[in-house]
């Protein structure tokens, strides 16, 4: 790593993201007074044997950019040329990584729902995959917990528990489980297992005693739950990042080399995505949900009222985990999104073949429709998991008055509220590489069921991780590129909450804008699309039917500005929660109607 350059002089920025299957590179150049993303390249990731060197994939992807940009980035020694000249190299090079399965952690807390969840939030927020949460009340006997710790091979362990001045017994008990279990790290046998202790400060000495022997690298940081009423995740997150760089990255094949190339610390990909979404939510003052559906896992990020949450659904993905999605969602649930009959036996084989050959892409429309049906279910399940995790803090004392007699709300309710959601961002292969934007929009609406007025966008080429790192080095460039090139706005979805009667009015609307002036009504069970080009805005006024809520309360009129996009304005009268007919034939007809309503597939695609 070299020290950061003067931001004024940075004209050419090269960024890579080493994913588990592909390494994506983007080039950002200073053109006509502003930063724009100009070229991109992609190559398979090369962490695995026979290559076992991540830099090969990086070089391949950068070479592709070089060919496109007509610029040489790699010198004869196979290194990235820096700083830039007129025709060669780049000024800064940054990278994120989720290759090698990303950062895998085990966390522990005293009470699963309290410090256990806080520790998990800290780890997830830092971009890790949480393999397991060990807690006093996780319904496992101590020997089972020890067996589990032994079987896991995490990159690091985060132990928390007890508020400051709280329990020490429970915390030490957990440490006394971890220490004799001697968990083995994934990479390298002479590597000391890093353990971060972020619990009760009064237990620090005892914790140090427990881990004194046995080859642990104990790091102590501030308690992540100093009182039950408050979380303090920052120090623990920073510590995780530090250890990720110092220990974990250094062990993965080729990363030692890659780390010397970059001008900023390599970040775990999801951590970088979280950073950029938080920045956007803060600057624009909106609530954002972001989703990244990958081959093995699906990450959901949310920022509601400036509270950031991230979940990783470890076994919901579109290639490695596709079979698991079908198993968890069940085949009938997947097939309800497909408007034609499919042979179940063939499908099952088809799914397994995708699992063992994860890089293949659908060639026929039918295959595409099926894959998108699986995607809907994966996203839906991942969002359910996210809602369950993103809650208010548990274990907080309440102040009551007699007026609360019949409305004693419990703590730990989800903070995810689709009605308050302003922006839904999609990324990940199946969403961003869908042949038509309408498909992406529909997948988002069907899986997330946004309510009220929600803007839909997709990360064009999964640039968010790159920008997350860049925002730490060159915030100006990061925000400029995010605004102009990163997000492709698909349009705005207006959907009523409640269950409208099929065929009866769900809401009446009047849209006024420069190019779009229309009014009409949306009936229950209908979904339709109005053209509104990207960059254009219009004002929509809606009168919902009784019991239908568009944001102002059931039956109350709303007036809002809506932005256009490549898809346009989607008016959804299907109701929330979205219900599909049980009967297969009726269901196919309904789905067929919806697909037609938003022209999801081009005309001939709706063949039955």
């Amino acid at each position: 790593m070299t020290t950061a350059l003067d931001p004024e002089k940075i004209k050419v920025i090269l960024a890579t993201d080493c994913g588990s299957t592909t390494t994506k590179a983007i080039l950002i150049q200073y053109v006509d007074g502003e930063y724009r993303q100009t070229h991109r390249g992609e190559a398979p990731t090369t962490v695995e044997k026979p290559f076992a060197d991540v830099t090969m994939g990086v070089v391949n992807s950068v070479t592709e950019i070089g060919e496109l940009a007509n610029r040489r980035f790699i010198d004869d020694d196979g290194k990235i040329i820096s700083p830039a000249t007129e025709t060669e190299g780049c000024d800064i090079y940054i990278s994120t990584s989720s290759a090698g399965g990303g950062l895998q952690m085990m966390v522990a807390g005293v009470v699963r729902e309290m410090t256990g969840d806080s520790a998990k939030r800290a780890a997830l927020g830092a971009g890790a995959i949480v393999m397991d949460v060990i807690a006093s009340n996780d319904d496992r006997r101590p020997h089972e917990q020890i067996q589990r710790i032994r079987d896991l091979r995490p990159d690091m362990i985060l132990i928390s528990g007890g508020i400051d001045g709280g329990t020490t017994t429970h915390v030490i008990q957990i440490c006394e489980l971890v220490a004799p279990a001697k968990p083995q790290p994934r990479f390298g046998s002479d590597y000391e297992m890093p353990i971060i202790y972020a619990g009760n400060k009064e237990a620090r000495d005892s914790v140090t005693d427990v881990f004194r022997e046995g080859g642990f690298d104990l790091q102590i940081c501030e308690n992540l739950r100093p009182v039950l009423e408050m979380e303090n995740l920052g120090p623990a997150r920073d510590k995780i990042h530090d250890i990720f760089l110092e220990h974990v990255m250094a062990q993965a094949p080729g990363y030692d080399k890659l780390m010397t190339w970059t001008d900023a610390p390599i970040m775990p990909t999801p951590g970088a995505v979280g950073d950029i979404l938080q920045t956007v939510a803060r600057i624009q003052g909106i609530n954002v949900v972001g989703v990244d559906i990958g081959g093995a896992t699906t990450d959901v990020f949310s920022v509601f009222d400036e509270t950031f949450n991230r979940t990783v659904s470890a076994n919901l993905g579109m290639s490695y985990s596709i079979s698991n999605v079908c198993a968890e969602a069940t085949m009938p649930n997947v097939l309800r999104w497909v408007p034609f009959d499919m042979d179940e036996r063939q499908l099952r084989n088809h799914v397994k073949n995708k699992m063992i050959r994860p890089t293949t892409i659908p060639q026929t429309k039918e295959a595409l429709m099926f894959e998108q049906a699986v995607a809907r279910e994966a996203l839906r399940l991942a969002y359910i998991q996210h809602k369950e995790f993103a809650t208010t803090l548990k274990g907080v004392q309440k102040q009551r008055t007699v007026g609360d007699t019949f409305s004693q709300e419990s703590t730990g309710d989800t903070i995810v509220n689709n009605m308050k959601l302003d922006l839904l961002v999609a990324s990940g292969g199946v969403l961003s590489h869908a042949p038509r934007m309408h498909q992406t929009a529909m997948l988002l609406i069907d899986a997330f069921e946004p309510e009220g007025v929600t803007r839909l966008a997709k990360d064009s080429i999964f640039m968010m991780p790159h920008l997350g790192v860049l925002s730490a080095v060159h915030p100006q460039a990061a925000t400029q590129v995010f605004d102009r090139d990163c997000l492709i706005y698909l349009g705005t979805c207006v959907a009523g909450k409640g269950l409208p009667k099929p065929g009866k009015t769900c809401f009446k609307y009047t849209v006024k804008g420069d190019t779009l002036n229309e009014s009409g009504e949306i009936r229950g069970g209908d979904i339709t699309m109005l053209p509104l080009e990207p960059g254009q805005t219009a004002t929509i006024e809606c009168d919902p039917a009784r019991g239908i809520d568009l944001g102002a309360g059931p039956g109350k009129r709303i007036t809002k500005d809506v932005q256009g996009g490549t898809v346009g304005l989607i008016l959804d009268g299907r109701g929330r929660p979205l219900a599909l007919p049980e009967d297969r034939a009726t269901c196919q007809a309904t789905i067929g109607k919806w697909i037609e309503g938003v022209q999801m597939y081009e005309e001939e695609a709706v063949a039955v």
Binding site: E67, T168, E176, L177, P180, S189, N353, T360, I361, L368
Partner: protein, 374 residues
Amino acid sequence: MAKAYTPGLLVTSNTRHRSRRQLPIKGEVKVSVGDQVQAEDVVAETALPGDVHPINLANQMSLPPADVPECMLKKEGDPIAHDEPLARSKGLFGLFKTTVNCQHEGTVETVSPVTGQVIVRGKPIPVDVHGYMAGKVVEVLQEEGCIIEAEVAFIQGIFGIGGETHGKIRVAVGSHEQPLAPDDITDDMSGCVVVGGGRMSVASIQRAKAVGAAAIVSGGIDDEDLKNFLGYDLGVAITGRERVGLTIIVTEGFGEIAMAQRTFELLKTHEGREASVNGATQIRAGVMRPEIIIPLESGSGEAAGGAHEEGLLEIGRAIRVIRDPWFGMIGEVSGLPSEPHVLDSGSKARVLEVRFPHGETAIVPRANVELIEG
């Protein structure tokens, strides 16, 4: 023109293969460089730390945790037998003493004055690492294991179940397209690696298990059959730890699909030879495919280098289509258009033109083919 990299499965009649035999933790290596080892030989051994049994003495004796160390009858590091007294409370004026007997055999590892917990570690669990593949030890990894090298015929499968095993190769069918029926498996195939052609059914797997076959290899398997055999639906392709009685290897994929002719021929030529088989599959980062290794007579010549550069897509290369609608078909590359092509699904992707043996050609995305290597 940029090189396009499309990894495929390795099927080769002669290669120099190195197998890394490693202990999970440090231990003793039993071989030295230059030794000739057999598959069943133990090359390294160690003892894993025994199971851990936490005993909460503070609760059992109703004592504050800090008093626990004083009451211990055994010190840290002392061995303890089953039902032997572990601790005794001081009681009141020397009366009403409580004695706690240890319910586990092992060694007292720690006594905690904070939690009042005593940890007793059970007997060490011995771990042996076998040679797995017959060959010559070329390197010893200090205290960790060794590397064995041999000239082998090497076949990678696409998917497997079960761990390492070895046995004589027995081809049970006549052609690479013939499905493996239960009747094809005879009683004398006990301990053998049974090779079939097309799809293997759950009945044939059960039959192979019944006769005591070490492994069963075939072109394809139905997902339903696999589920029935395993008793659960496989969610992610990370296997190798199943204990199902035999190792299963599928060389091509799921469904009605024949084994590649080359693979079949290769196995057939080596019929009767000892083969090492591992079904462990990990389709994730650090991809692992199941493998069939057939050590050859030493000195049968240098490993033959492939005519093509590894992993390079060129006109004339043999490829297999790995996605519908031509799933499983084998052909050769007949064209490599550099411009992306719009597929039926509407997406744009880089494609190639493939010519199938009967002469017809098709346009297939490059992502949907794999090279047949070797």
